[in-house]
């Protein structure tokens, strides 16, 4: 019988190898799926993984990887802080939406005045909106002992309803012929979050994501906060003896992750999305949770995982266009990739042993 034995320390070798094994297994399983659908499996896999990076139009799709990945990375980095400490904010989708609503509200209140202060004000509003929305479950946990997994999830639905109300009501574009949705902020120069270098994909959200990754790495590696987070995650009781105030840590982590999610919402609404619409959410906050775990809650891992996710999205679109693969097949493929990555990861911390356990 095969059983798992915990390693004394996570294996570095396996930590590096498992993502590649998982991707290979996904290619195999995905190839079978594509073949079953009557498509050439090799071509399909090449279209998904290779073409966005090195295909004939990679000049366009490579920067787009950054654009697609930026919000995922930004949100996931924020989440990783709390996740490492055992603080489960799964309501990033709501914080993302509220951040976008606040930022858009600031911009629309100022419209059409032009000012260099507007963009920073929006950044602030977005971060603050996300922060406050994230703090609600934090406060509820600290003050009332309410489980933050569940309250933060509930607040996603509240945020979605709020978004619909805003897109149909208060923030609706008065010149939009009555259709739901706000004005296009990407066409409002003071508010627009445009590419810093044309064609590079680098907008301020990408920059913010990269800064967040580096900052998180520094916090984890060098800062007191990182130490407290790791300690709390590993041994909550010992952490208290070591002087960690668990309540405060909950508030810091929930607030921080909320603020980053809110920022992501702000950069999206002012840039790639342009406008606040009923469907603005699109699940980034949930996908980011997956990204955080795929990256093993490590900032650089999250960077890689975010890009990998973006690759499957963009490659998946190419596969739809070129091979007429249904979007359903792409979703299954993504699901399999996640399953393999999550499943194989067990080898990092555990060693499979054959035979009975010693008593």
């Amino acid at each position: 019988m095969i059983r798992l034995e915990r390693r004394r320390e996570p294996s570095r070798g396996w930590a590096l190898a498992t993502p590649f094994i998982a991707v290979l297994l996904t290619m195999l399983a995905g190839g079978l799926l594509f073949a079953a659908l009557g498509k050439d499996p090799v071509e399909a896999i090449r279209t998904i993984f290779w073409d966005p990076l090195f295909g004939p139009y990679a000049g366009y799709s490579r920067p787009q990887l950054l654009v697609k990945a930026a919000p995922l990375i930004l949100i996931a980095t924020g989440l990783s802080l709390g996740f490492r400490a055992g603080i489960w904010n799964i309501g990033a989708e709501g914080q993302y939406i509220v951040g976008a609503i606040c930022a858009a509200a600031v911009a629309l209140a100022a419209y059409p005045a032009e000012s260099v202060l507007l963009f920073p004000a929006m950044v602030l509003a977005g971060a603050l909106g996300g922060l406050l929305w994230g703090l609600i479950p934090g406060v509820l946990r600290v003050r009332f002992g309410a489980n933050e997994v569940l309250t933060s999830l509930m607040l996603v639905y509240v945020a979605e309803a709020l978004l619909a109300a805003m897109a149909l009501g208060l923030l609706r574009n008065p010149e939009g012929r009555g259709f739901p949705g706000s004005r296009n902020l990407a066409q409002y120069p003071s508010a627009a979050n445009l590419e810093i270098l044309p064609g590079s994909g680098m907008h301020w959200g990408v920059v913010a994501a990269l800064i967040a990754v580096v900052a998180a790495q520094v916090i984890f590696a060098r800062h007191q906060l990182g130490y407290r987070i790791r300690l709390t995650g590993a041994a909550p009781r010992a952490a208290v003896f070591a002087g960690v105030r668990p309540g405060l840590l909950v508030l810091v982590c929930m607030g921080f992750s909320g603020a980053l999610a809110g920022l992501a919402g702000m950069f999206e609404v002012a840039g790639p999305a342009g406008r606040l619409s009923i469907d603005f959410g699109a699940g980034y906050g949930f996908t980011a949770i997956i990204v955080a775990f795929l990256g093993r809650l490590n900032p650089f891992g999250i960077l890689a995982a975010g890009l990998l996710m973006a690759l499957t999205y963009i490659g998946g679109e190419l596969a739809q266009m070129q091979l007429a693969l249904p979007v359903a097949a792409i979703q299954i493929f993504q699901g399999m990739l996640l399953f393999f990555l999550l499943g194989i990861d067990v080898l990092t911390a555990y060693r499979p042993r054959i035979g009975k356990a010693r008593a």
Binding site: Y60, R177, G178, F179, P189, G199, S277, A282, M321, P326
Partner: protein
């Protein structure tokens, strides 16, 4: 657009143009791209557009290639997908949802040699056309039939979101129901969703419970049909697709989204080199608004009356929004004999007199 934005988009355009020249070289047959907001299996809006695509492919056979991307959210993804389609050598691209408007407009600017067509929007340019359907013409026919059929004098209407497109349909059907039945009353339920079959079933049920014996829907699933069938003596109309499975009762006729002919016509123009920017708002006459078969559940004289209305609308002899029409607040909207302009119709944000409800804001 201000200078900063313009400079940047011009530069971005140059980058894309550089990539795109590679693409243009490998073209053989014209390629027509479609982007859908929902899955093609939604049996409603996106499904009908894909039916149109299939008709197009069938019509031209090997002479053209069609590609589609489904389930594209109306946000940043739309612009990327449209750009990818253009880069992949699509010569004509149909963007089939209102929310794709600004993305389509942006991408159209960057690919001046590619033709774009946006459904239900209002932005046009040298290589961007818009097209949509005058569904309100079909609603007028439904309203007439509903007004004749109802015994409770209560007509139910399931709306998706309170936007002009939907409000127009409500007004059109109410006006024509009222014409044949002055006592008719309309009850409106908003589902607040483009797509939620269970909510549609519940909305239909709520209307039936409130006494409605005819239910019109501006949502695309057959759930209201099933609810009406279970209730027994309730009439419905197919929406988006024919829904003929529910004929002859409860579905007595239908409004069908027919895009195929338009897609064929525009692709032909592309092939002939005669494609020009256009603003098409097609009605019953163009075939874009298809009226499904009227079943025996409608008495013969009402069928004749409805057919007459269809014919008069199709010939242009009659416009469903012809005055006198007052707004719900009692003020005059159209004077005697006055016909609503398209501009007035597109921005309609009020109920007509006689509908005793308020539009949510």
């Amino acid at each position: 657009m201000q200078r900063r934005t313009m400079l940047k988009s011009a530069a971005a355009g140059a980058v894309l143009a550089g990539i795109a020249t590679v693409a243009a070289a490998q073209d053989d047959v014209p390629k027509v791209g479609f982007i859908y907001v929902g899955p093609v299996g939604d049996l409603g809006w996106s499904y009908q557009h894909d039916q149109g695509r299939q008709q197009l492919q069938e019509h031209f056979g090997d002479e053209i290639e069609t590609v589609y991307i489904e389930n594209v959210p109306e946000g940043p993804d739309a612009e990327r997908v449209l750009t990818q389609l253009a880069l992949q050598g699509a010569d004509l691209i149909f963007a089939t949802s209102f929310g794709f408007m600004e993305a389509t407009n942006n991408v159209a600017q960057q690919f001046p040699d590619v033709k774009f067509e946006h459904a239900t929007g209002y932005m046009t340019s040298d290589n961007l056309s818009v097209y949509g359907s005058r569904f309100y013409e079909g609603r007028a026919v439904e309203g007439l039939i509903a007004g004749e059929l109802t015994e409770s004098n209560i007509i139910g209407y399931i709306g998706s979101y309170p936007i002009p497109e939907v409000i127009r349909g409500i007004n059109s059907s109410f006006l024509h129901a009222q014409k044949v039945n002055p006592d008719v009353e309309m009850r409106i339920v908003w589902a607040y969703s483009w797509f939620d079959p269970a909510a549609e079933a519940e909305a239909a049920q709520a209307l039936i419970d409130a006494g409605a014996d005819v239910v019109l829907q501006h949502t695309d699933s057959t759930a209201p049909q099933a609810a009406a069938q279970a209730a027994g003596d309730v009439y419905t109309f197919g929406q988006a697709s024919d829904m003929s499975d529910y004929a002859p009762m409860p579905r007595v006729t239908s409004i069908i989204d027919e895009w195929g002919d338009y897609y064929i016509e525009r692709t032909q123009a592309l092939i002939d080199g005669t494609w020009e920017t256009s603003d098409t708002w097609g009605g019953i006459d163009s075939g874009m608004v298809g009226i499904g078969e009227m079943t025996d559940a409608i008495p013969q004289d009402v069928r004749d009356e409805a057919q007459d209305l269809i014919d008069r609308i199709a010939s242009g002899e009659y416009h469903p929004f012809t005055g006198p029409i007052n707004k719900a607040d009692g003020t005059q909207w159209l004077a005697e004999g006055e016909v609503a302009t398209d501009e007035q119709l597109l921005s309609m944000d009020f109920y007509v007199e006689g509908i005793e409800a308020a539009i949510p804001d």
